[in-house]
Amino acid sequence: MDDLSDLYAEVIMDHQRHPRNFGKLENFDREVQMTNSSCGDQISLQVKFENEKIKDLKFSGMGCAISMASASVMTEVMKGLSIEEARRFSDEFLEMVKAGKIPSDDLKDAKVFGGVYKYPMRVKCATLAWYALQKAIE
């Protein structure tokens, strides 16, 4: 692949085309709406907790490939984590995308967003869903 690959890795394109956990939960404990007005991106995130863990979560919304894929990846990474872990992982993700910090392997697929750091204008796109998650587990 060419030089677009550090922004649009195959994994990202795959999530963009086939977003995971897209839609609405029948049953949820928290719902967060968030917008990134500078891009017009919107996300709605629903989370169901059980025993201090994220039992299930779904998102819907609209935005660019980066923001949609990042939301999809986020839901995959988060499902089943304890709230404590979710907080730590999302902090790691934000540090990676905003400040270029190398993350631990815990981030799994989410590591493909490491290249976004070099595109300051796309940082907001990649972080929206993760901020929404942080708000949901506050």
């Binding site: 060419d2 030089d3 677009l4 922004l7 649009y8 394109m13 963009q16 007005s37 500078s38 891009c39 017009g40 609209m62 935005g63 660019c64 490939a65 980066i66 595109y119 796309r122 796109c125």
Partner: protein
Amino acid sequence: MKKDFPILSTVLPNGKKIIYLDNAATTQKPLSVIERISNFYKFQNANVARSSHYLGEQTTIAYNGARKTVADFINASEDEIIFTSGTTESINMIAYGWGDANISEGDEIVVMTSEHHSDFVPWQQLAIRKKGKFKVTPLNADGTINMNEFKKSVTSKTKIVACAKMTNSFGVINPVEEIGKITHDKGAVFVVDGAQSVPSMPTDVKEMDADFLSFSGHKMLAPMGIGVLYAKKSIIKELEPFLTGGGMIDEVKTEFTTFACAPDRYEAGTPNVEGAIGLASAIEYLEEIGMANVLEHEREILEYAYSKLAGVERVILYGPKNFEKRGGILSFNIKGIHPHDVAAVLNSNGVAIRSGHHCAQPILRFLNIDFMATARASFYIYNDKSDIDVLADAIEEAKRRF
């Protein structure tokens, strides 16, 4: 022409040559302007109108000369020209300096839905501050002003009408002469946002009969941090000083301060002399070309781009089909692809465009545009048709990828 602009030879890290089509956001600078700035700091720099030494005199002469160049460029006189940091500050200066003293409860301020945030939010905030009524004129589907609606919205209570001569979202050229006449017939003040029009076509403040006109240097080959507020002689006396401090005063006592005459009265603090002489140098470059030719060139590129992209599958073009109503801006979308992703693919082909809401959320919301965003290619004197060919190819690649 491109050789006057060193930045246009930029090669991206991936080896692609840059095609700069983001001129509505900011323009590139010719060597003559860059060198004028360097030479100012190398040979001339001092504070202005304060220090009576050799460099101080040189700087003051250059600064006054720049004011005259700007005045001539828009057919105004020197004491109608206030240097600001940009269009946004200029408009705020009117809203605070004229608006706060002249708007009271129930008064109306009329703007167009197609205004840039900088010609929208200051008026809205003024209306909120003073309990006035903020009226936003609806548009036609092509982004032009619905003139019937406009006529209805201007009443005897209207105190201010604000309108861009050219919009930055779709590049629509508004009929400001007609709008000004309707405005003045109702006794209101007519404020023109020239941020896009002044760089792209001849400007005559007498002809458009604007009471105020604002524009920014950086959008017309000049450095950042300099802008202009033109205030018609008959109204400038009603403009209260807004920023206060050094240079704009006559006498400062504990109980009160008296202020200097216009334009000094409105230029508090050390002015941006570099910016002013850089702007004058840019104007000289543009006058060499001729402003009528600038517009003609922009339209030629626009027509070429339009004809190449019209009818292309998935491509939506915004704005009126009548090119007489347009300057060199082409806003578009590709169905199903977010404009940010379009911009990213174009960028990987060297093509620099803007994607997003272009500081014009109201028009995008009003026209219900997908993603509340568009991709925008905007042209200037140094662009040519081959740039458009690269753009069109890159659009095809975006379609393939997404």
